[in-house]
Assembly symmetry: C2
Homo-oligomer: 724 residues x 2
């Protein structure tokens, strides 16, 4: 029976994971569909007006309206700003960020993303999917009551209620988000691993893989027609296609090209580092000048106006030279017609005559994904006039301002991702590189500017995000051409290395800017030889007795900010600490005080050998649940009205404490402490003296480079003082 129950539990777990996968994919489709509808609405509405300028004004007003709605979401739920990837990464590192995974954040994120994308800002909907995926997973595991019918399933989700299981589920959700966005389950798995892998087990791999596969399966079942000639499609499959569209496997890459691609990777690394550095300065400026909500709104509106206006102006002013005939949509003329012809009708005429397109407008005024596909798929030469489809100056006129847009828009107060804009800019630069290479006499068959565009995208994204294995696979799965594996890997590796010479990755930078206590995989090199556990720890340990007076508990909670307290029996020896029972968390103490479950036994025997309980035991599961509901402010400064007679009562803390304690000796190296923290996802660690007395506590913030540096400085000062 036990075995059957275990099986049932494990089956339920898989069901819950599949449920999460379905919810995530549905949300993705909802976002895609809604933002497309909003854009269509704006277009139809704009078309009612005749003159070019009134069209422009109407479009601008509608865009600003959309942008304001997106901004409002952030105003209402500040945690929904940006892509949420750094926050998810920080959460997986073991950092608690308030509200980052609440249902309201999910709602704000979904609607904010829809409107931000529809507003025509240079933002994408792929980044937020990672955050959305992680919120869905976290909410499911917390069993937020959504709808009655799924309640039983969510009840089952309580098997995920403990902290590490929830973390695993969040990883799976993030990966499912990637899968939904890019149709890239392996890429999702690798991304979750690369960005979130502070601690990882085979079980996590399994869950993540299953969740990602579940998302893909659901997608395929919905879009039956995408897979084979039979089967009707429930939804428009174009919402589910990957951003790149699939590529002809006829495209080949020669050995000489690999060298060119590595060169592009190097350039991508430099440009990416420049972008990151600019973002660093932008965020400092933003911190000083854009610090109130009205100013933030002004910033969002300003960026929207600039982006729309520059795009329009560039398109109109280039009218004289950028109008070109649309090449014939005749499949027999193209080598890979199936991969070219479908994209021709994305070429925009603007004010050019019928049968013509405006090069610049096709890049600026299309939505990001369409523009990207044009750059990725159209051949180098226009068959109608034998000139390049996109001329060098048109590409430059797009890429230059767009780089500035990206710098401006990255970090404004709307929910938004930046993956597609990065790809788009990279593709434009890559296409320029490809055309320059052709001009310099590279053989024509190699002059497949399409491949250069894709590699340009990879290079720029690599230079900014510094992800290599996962980005290789995501690009691979999105382009559907396994021959690109080696080029992608080389481009991304070189972009990573070159970029790392100048700045950290954009995510690490944001984590630093926001000041999350993020633990890197290794301690800084300078700390290795000079610091030991003894130097890192906070030496005065505030401890409680296993059976403690209510007064003392309240006092400790009010006067210290510690999150963990060791439970030590009174010691018979004057200089040594007593026997250790275990550790107890701050939030547990708060809940216990609130429950007012005290004992008035007059004579309390704090003796290790006495197992008798001094006060009745509360249900531990319920306790955990109430602890999870506490807001971080209540935990930090609990106000518990206690009667004077309560204060003299006793609490038996033993049933609620954790007897499994990890220690290190005070002589342990920083590396060992780091490995314990990261490898096990710890938040606190007790330090023992060589006499094995509890002599200190190391918390996560003690391992931050800043804190280590100041401690090192103090030690050096002490040494110098003692020398003098």
């Amino acid at each position: 029976i036990l075995r059957w129950q275990t099986r049932k539990r494990s089956l339920l777990r898989w069901l819950v994971i599949f449920f999460i996968a379905i919810v995530i994919e549905t949300l993705y489709l909802f976002i895609s569909y809604s933002s497309a509808t909003l854009v269509t609405f704006r277009t139809t509405f704009t078309l009612q007006f005749q003159s070019g300028w009134s069209k422009y004004v109407i479009k601008l007003i509608l865009s600003c309206l959309y942008a304001v709605i997106a901004f409002l979401m952030v105003y209402l739920v500040p945690a929904s700003a940006g892509s949420g990837i750094p926050e998810t990464k920080a959460f997986l590192n073991g950092i608690r960020i308030p509200d980052i995974q609440s249902l309201s954040t999910l709602t704000a994120k979904v609607f904010g993303t829809i409107f931000a994308v529809a507003a025509g800002l240079p933002v994408g909907k792929y980044g937020p999917m990672i955050h959305i995926g992680s919120i869905v997973a976290a909410c499911t595991s917390r069993r937020a009551r959504l709808i009655r019918p799924v309640d039983r399933l969510l009840e089952a989700a309580r098997v995920f209620s403990n902290h590490s299981e929830r973390r695993d589920l969040v990883v799976a959700g993030a990966a499912a988000g990637v899968t939904a966005a890019f149709a890239a389950p392996i890429g999702g798995l690798l991304l979750a691993w690369e960005e979130g892998s502070s601690y990882w087990s085979l079980k996590v791999t399994w869950r993540v893989f299953f969740c990602a596969t579940g998302t893909l399966l659901f997608t395929y079942l919905l879009a039956g027609s995408r897979m084979g000639p039979a089967g009707a499609s429930l939804v428009d499959p174009s919402y589910m296609q990957s951003y790149a569209g699939s590529f002809s496997t006829g495209i080949r890459v020669a050995n000489e090209d690999l060298l060119l691609f590595v060169g592009m990777g190097v350039l991508g690394g430099i440009l990416g580092a420049a972008f990151n550095a600019l973002h660093w300065h932008m965020s400092r400026l933003r911190h000083s000048y854009v610090c109130t909500w009205p100013r933030r709104l002004m910033e969002v509106l300003g960026v929207t106006v600039v982006v729309s206006t520059v795009g329009f102006l560039a398109s109109f002013l280039s009218e004289s030279w950028a109008c070109r005939p649309v090449p014939p949509a005749e499949p027999s003329l193209y080598e890979d017609a199936a991969y070219v012809v479908p994209y021709l009708d994305k070429l925009l005429p603007l004010t050019c005559g019928p049968g013509h397109y405006n090069e610049v407008a096709s890049l600026y005024l299309n939505d990001g994904v369409s523009a990207l596909r044009l750059l990725f798929h159209l051949p180098r030469l226009n068959l109608s006039d034998d000139k390049p489809m996109f001329s060098l100056h048109a590409l430059a006129l797009f890429a230059g301002p767009y780089f500035l847009f990206l710098v401006l828009a990255f970090g404004v107060s709307v929910p938004s991702g930046f993956f597609v804009p990065q790809l788009l800019l990279g593709a434009a630069l890559g296409r320029m590189a490809g055309q320059v290479v052709v001009v310099f006499g590279h053989p024509t068959y190699l002059g497949q500017v399409r491949v250069f565009a894709i590699m340009g995208s990879a290079a720029f994204v690599g230079g900014i995000t510094r992800m290599v294995p996962s980005m290789t696979v995501i690009m691979l799965e999105a382009t559907g051409n396994l021959f690109f594996l080696l080029p992608f890997a080389l481009v991304l590796l070189s972009a990573h290395w070159v970029g790392d010479l100048f700045t950290p990755s954009i995510y690490d930078m944001i984590i630093e800017i926001k000041g999350y206590p993020f633990l890197r995989p290794d301690p800084p090199k300078w700390a290795l030889a000079q610091l030991r556990a003894r130097d890192l720890m906070t030496p005065q340990v505030v401890s409680l007795r296993p059976i403690e007076t209510v007064k003392r508990v309240q006092e400790v909670l009010c006067t210290t900010g510690h999150n963990m307290f060791p439970l030590l029996y009174p010691s018979s020896h004057p200089t040594r600490s007593g026997a250790l029972f275990g550790t107890i968390m701050r939030e547990t103490l708060v809940v216990l005080l609130q429950a007012a479950n005290f004992s008035s036994t007059a004579s309390v025997n704090n003796d290790p050998d006495n197992p008798e309980l001094a006060s009745p035991v509360l249900d531990f599961a319920q306790l955990l649940e109430s602890a999870a509901r506490l807001s971080s402010r209540v935990i930090a400064q609990p106000v518990i009205p206690l009667t004077p007679e309560d204060e003299s009562k006793w609490m038996d803390l033993r049933p609620y404490s954790n007897p499994s304690v990890y220690f290190v000796t005070e002589d342990s190296s920083v590396t060992k402490v780091y490995r314990l923290f990261r490898g096990l996802g710890l938040r606190h660690l007790l330090v023992l003296s060589i006499e094995r007395d509890v002599c200190g506590v190391i918390a996560r913030h003690d391992l931050m480079p800043n804190s280590m540096e100041s401690k090192l400085r103090k030690i050096k000062a002490c040494k110098n003082a003692s020398k003098a």
Copy 2:
């Protein structure tokens, strides 16, 4: 300057990794080329004879000769037997297996694999590549002197000399082996992760990815022509093609097919579990009856004779019905001609007339990879006579005996992998399933038996190895068709789940059979609630003083088998243990005794506050190197001739001990102990009582299910006794 040195070091690391990648790929090419040459030699030699039977006898004699050479390799270096995957897995789990990574094992493995494959046994060369890759990496990090010119580079490899760096490098080597074998770098990364991931960091991901990419890059540079129209190929590209050959991306899979594939996954799981169970019994039989070298030789010869004879007999006896006309090699007749026509000339005529092929012989008498490609690529119907290319009874006549061959040959004393044979059998079964489905009226366009053959392969491999994410990606990269992603994932998931209901995976089974103390990701469920650290530990801790007499050190080494000793200062308190200085390893003590670096100071002050050294310090790096050179037998039973006057001298152990010690309390849960061991790759862990005295040591073997079970039984017996 420091920064520049760090950069140089890190550059050197990457160079070393790339060097390893190149060596591994070169070895793979050498193995492929040599075994193909040996087969060609046998064929040409056999052709000199006229009659069918004399041909058979000559071929049999040559095959036996090859098999004997392969056997000799195992006789000379027993560690080279089998695929080496379980051993690599065990090594990465933190288990030391003697000789598994020596240069002689590498040599024996390479030549053994060549001859085993050439002997026509149902074995493959892909499995050993994983082991070979890991040996190359390990040898490089140990800096085995190979050739003068690469010596400087290998000197640089000393940056990998510490234990955890070496382990990381071995992971990278294993992944490069997979990449070399399957041209699947991402698959290699995932395989190394899935099978070897006891502890893993982002740094490892990077190294593994780089090593795998390096292998692929080297492959592509050698086989220039494979990537594009230009570039001459240095070696025959067919040696570098993946086993599956690439697939037309025109192949699509419909939603209804997914259900059929899941069914095949279920069958694959059942068959795979049956195979694993049979292997379990076979290895017990082998253990009882085939336990001397002559008998092992007889076994190898017997299997070779059976395999060759049955293949020949089946081919000859089927002459009457299995001779069929070869379909025309006219590209215009086939939908995916490029993926079909190249394989038509692998159809063997045997005794059939010209322009004909024998169905059974084409499966039995081809080498494994060719037969596999026939099953993977040839269409269902023979265009010449409109009957299936391979009839159901031909496939059955092949699959039935071949299953028995696999059971017989798996585990005989030759170096060999079993990946291709598994795929081959799976493909035959899958093709049968596909043809049955067509008979039952499944629409023709779905009746692409090719896809069924591939899915059959995946199902059978999945049922045996139970790898899911990595196998999905390996199959994907080998077939080059991203549309197979979802089907592969579903097939492998269902095979895994169904298989797990019956038996563990083949690798876990071999690890169990060989008795390696392998730590699973989680402790067994029954242990969770009932055992604590206190119950697992060995309670009598043998400790040394930081400054110890030579006599006592020698005594401790001779009378105990412990591998780690805590260094405790003498205690002033009668019942409590003294202050802890750190821990020291057994092998360090052996080296120190051998070095005879003793001090004769008469009055030794074993006081924690006395930093003065009692004996001169040896070079620690040198010490480590000599420790690594010690054979396991010397470490276990060191014979050190000491003069009586030496015995009364003192050794100061403090400079050689490790002051970073991990502890748990005796109340810690089994899960926490497990997480520490796996997460940090520990071999020993000190246990503290609640008074924080050192009260026990937990070693890896204390965490094995058997050991835990016997301890649990003892505890229960004690409880019952105390009740009575």
